[in-house]
Amino acid sequence: MELYDNRIQLKLFIAGSSVRSGNAIANLKRICDESFPGCYQLDIIDVLQQPGMAEVERVLATPTLIKIAPPPARRIIGDLADKEKVLAGIGFSIE
């Protein structure tokens, strides 16, 4: 339970199984595996398959990454290739 609570919870919204979506997923996983090895949870939501989820989170465009936990919630949009910018965008800075 404690372990769970300490986890970093992420949601990635993508649109379809395009090359761009694939790149976004691969980039994000690489960043997470390097930065939070073993302690993050990443949900990937294809807005074409689950449009309801996008509505709930009021996602306006893809790729959008939402950090749900730890609070505060943050979201970023755009290119997920640059590790530093991604981490900064969701509120982590690299020591």
Binding site: L60, P63, I76
Partner: protein, 790 residues
């Protein structure tokens, strides 16, 4: 008045509002605090809806990044996003600039797809410029043709051309491309290796908005394997697996073509059906493998004997068909047939054995045999059977005339069978009368066919076709049955009118004849004895006299009487007369008809009448066509007669009326009832002889016959009679010397006329014919006077 700074801000605001890119200003949490109209258009939300929405931190400084805009109606949009950090009203904000690239993205996707299709298609693709120069090819092109892209580009597709299609083919292809913008079909091309291949090819012209051809795109699939497979199937379907000769299917095709060609070029065509003699024995004795080898050898040998254009086909087993075309005359096939026979009967080495068979061949020739292809084969088959019957190792020609005869007979049998079923036959009745009293003593029933197309047909028109056929028995029984029914009808109205019915020897000799007659009689129980008479035809066919006479006796016990028809014809009349219990003799009409002109026929009539008298049988003469016939018959003591001179056959309903109105000729009724003495017949013969003599004379004078009648008085029957019997009996008659003189006058005149004709004066001779007639009439009148006065 606004300050320059405010003016600049106002201008800046206008620029932002008019910008074609969407612009969002986001606070540090990523929420939208400002948006321009282009942004609201892009998101399909109004400004108020966008205001405060969480968009997220844009991570796209420097290089633009593509994002997908989510819209409520799910229509996808793609934007290129740039982002900048900025300060606004003392706060750190982000400006995101979104350029709508939806259309561009779509076009790129399409291009990418097209490129994928081009590269990975299983079809070979060639793209050329309008002049046909190759500008691109795909990988499959290389795989199929063997040419790399580098080798192909810059070349013309002629590179692949094979010689399998004629120039017209390509002309037509280009015509279709120019006119319709596309062409598709099958074509044989050549690979880089030189090997030919078949492809299904589709070429399309790609045109610009001015309808001008920009490119040609050709798609093709290699179908060589398919073609080869198809060819194999064709071989299996059209060739015999054992001998590789055409099979029945291909034969039918070739034969049809050959018939057409023969017709077109006015040549003969021979169809030979060939069956090996003694092949089965070899199969049985040495096994099928040996038999198969023999078939292969003989087939090859026979093929070798034929000309190009001829067809040798194997139908199966040891049966072959040869089609020989382009024969100038029918006989042209004979040497070929002889060679085929030779090829079939020469010994065939199989293993260490020498095998011997021969062939029987049936041949039919088109167009002498004008049948269709199927029938030609059947006819040749029939003829082959004849060749077998005739002793094998030979050929037999199909006999068209014989076949036609058989066919006609079969058709007419069917027609007659149908007519019987449809009740198209009727009986007409010809009265038989006593010429002296005018009484009708009976009628002869004669069959007629009331043919729906050809009207009323006489029996000669159809009965000969069923002679000795079981159908003739059915017809015969129908006649008896119908006659019996007619007798009943007449009896019911108080008319006693015996009917005679013709019965053929064939019918009479049926084992069941008596039983069938009894059954027919039993079906008409009211009929009185003697009402039915059977006239037996062709008595000479009745060999078993004992059987026939007992049969006739049995019939008589049933009340049926008999007449011997056509009496006098054939050889054995006397024996029949002695043995058969017939009540009546009918003098054949041929003798009666000619007795007025032919002393021999007259002699026969006299003899038959004498025989009837001697055997105590009644006699009736057929063929009474004129009053003169009747007169002579009466003179000879024959009172009963029938013939056109009395009445033609008529339907039953006309008979009563005819009987009520018919009167015999006064020349008949005036004659006293007296049989002529044997002695008095001589002048009759003289009369008859001179009639004929004069006819022959006329014919000679008019050039109708080459020789005159005998001019020698001693050849003349009358001269002979006048000088012997006549002199003894009539020498003292006052007319005798005049008779002698008139007779000599007749012959003298005859000689004179013959001389005239021979001396080249035929018209003078003909002019004096009337004189000869007068003298002849005088002679005959004198003869009659002499005859009557005794």
């Amino acid at each position: 008045m606004e300050r320059p700074q405010e003016l600049a801000r106002s201008l800046f605001q206008t620029v932002v509002e008019e910008a074609s890119d969407g612009i969002l200003v986001l606070n540090s949490a990523g929420s939208i605090i400002l948006s321009n109209p282009a942004a609201t258009t892009l998101f399909e939300l109004d400004e108020a809806e966008l205001d405060g929405q969480l968009f997220g931190f844009p991570i796209a400084d420097g290089a633009p990044t593509e994002i997908n805009i989510l819209r409520e109606n799910n229509s996808p949009a793609t934007a290129e996003m740039r982002a900048r950090e900025a300060w606004w009203q003392g706060e750190r904000v982000f400006v995101a600039i979104l350029r709508d690239i939806t259309e561009r993205a779509r076009a790129e996707a399409r291009l990418k797809l097209a490129a994928n299709v081009f590269t990975h298609a299983r079809e070979g693709i060639i793209i050329t410029d309008p002049d046909g120069t190759i500008i691109d090819v795909n990988d499959t092109f290389t795989r199929i043709t063997g040419y790399s892209r580098a080798e192909a580009v810059g070349q013309n597709p002629r590179l692949l051309k094979s010689a399998r299609q004629p120039p017209e083919f390509y002309t037509a292809m280009w015509r279709a491309l120019i006119d319709d913008g596309h062409w598709s079909g099958e074509i044989w091309n050549r690979r880089k290796s030189g090997e030919g291949y078949a492809e299904i090819l589709t070429i399309s012209a790609v045109r610009d908005s001015d309808n001008k051809t920009q490119n040609y795109v050709a798609l093709f699939t290699d179908i060589t394997t398919l073609k080869e497979h198809q060819q194999q199937l064709e071989i299996v379907a059209h060739y015999d697996a054992l001998t590789n000769m055409p099979n029945r299917v291909l034969l039918a095709d070739r034969l049809k073509q050959a018939v057409t060609q023969s017709h077109r070029h006015n040549r003969f065509l021979a169809v030979a059906y060939l069956d090996l003699d003694g092949f089965k024995a070899i199969n049985d004795q040495h096994g099928h493998d040996v038999g198969d080898e023999l078939l292969i050898s003989i087939a090859q040998r026979m093929k070798h004997e034929l000309r190009d254009g001829d067809t040798l086909a194997r139908l199966g087993g040891d049966e072959f068909v040869v089609v020989m075309v382009d024969l100038t005359v029918p006989q042209d096939c004979e040497p070929l047939l002889a060679r085929l026979l030779q090829a079939a009967c020469a010994p065939v080495p199989v293993g260490d054995m020498l095998l011997n068979v021969s062939a029987s061949i049936g041949v039919t020739l088109y167009p002498k045999d004008g049948a269709d292809a199927d029938q030609l084969l059947r006819h040749a088959d029939q003829a082959m059977y004849q060749a077998k019957l005739a002793g094998k190792n030979r050929y037999h020609l199909f006999d068209v005339a014989q076949d036609l005869l058989i066919k006609n007979r079969r058709e007419s049998l069917e027609a007659i069978q149908g007519a019987l079923a449809r009740n198209e036959f009727v009986l007409h009745y010809q009265p038989k009368v006593n010429m002296r009293t005018g009484a009708t003593i009976g009628v002869e029933a004669l069959i007629r066919w009331n043919h729906p197309d050809h009207g009323l047909l006489a029996p000669e028109a159809f009965l000969p076709n069923i002679e000795n056929h079981p159908l003739s028995i059915q017809i015969g029984e129908w006649v008896i049955d119908t006659a019996l029914a007619q007798i009943e009808i007449w009896q019911a109205s108080g008319i006693e009118m015996p009917i005679s019915v013709n019965v053929s020897a064939h019918q009479l000799l049926q084992k069941t004849f008596l039983a069938r007659l009894a059954a027919l009689m039993a079906a008409h129980p009211g009929i009185r004895p003697g009402a039915l008479e059977l006239e037996i035809l062709e008595t000479s066919a009745l060999k078993d006299m004992a059987y026939v006479s007992s049969l006739m006796r049995a019939c008589r016990e049933m009340g049926v009487s008999f007449a011997l028809d056509d009496f006098g014809t054939g050889y054995s009349s006397l024996t029949y007369l002695k043995n058969f219990p017939a009540d009546l003799l009918k003098v054949d009409r041929s003798f009666v008809l000619d007795m007025l002109g032919d002393p021999d026929d007259l002699a026969i009539v006299v003899s038959v009448l004498g025989l009837a008298n001697a055997f105590n049988r009644r006699v009736i003469a057929e063929g009474v066509e004129t009053v003169a016939h009747g007169e002579l018959l009466l003179l000879l003591g024959c009172e009963f007669a029938q013939g056109f001179g009395i009445s033609r056959p008529m339907p039953a309903f006309e008979l009563c009326d005819w009987m009520a109105h018919w009167k015999p000729d006064p020349a008949w009724t005036s004659r006293p009832m007296r049989a002529t003495r044997r002695d008095d017949l001589a002048p009759l013969f003289a009369d008859v002889q001179h009639r004929q003599w004069l006819v022959d004379m006329e014919r000679f004078l008019t050039g109708e016959q080459e020789l005159p009648p005998s001019l020698n008085l001693h050849d003349c029957y009358t001269d002979h009679w006048l000088n012997t019997e006549g002199r003894q009996r009539y020498a003292k008659h006052p007319l005798y010397s005049m008779l002698m003189e008139t007779h000599e006058h007749v012959h003298r005149l005859g000689r004179e006329l013959v001389e005239l004709r021979r001396n080249g004066m035929p018209s003078e001779a003909i002019a004096r014919l009337r004189e000869l007639h007068l003298v002849r009439d005088e002679l005959i009148a004198s003869l009659r006077r002499v005859l009557r006065s005794f």
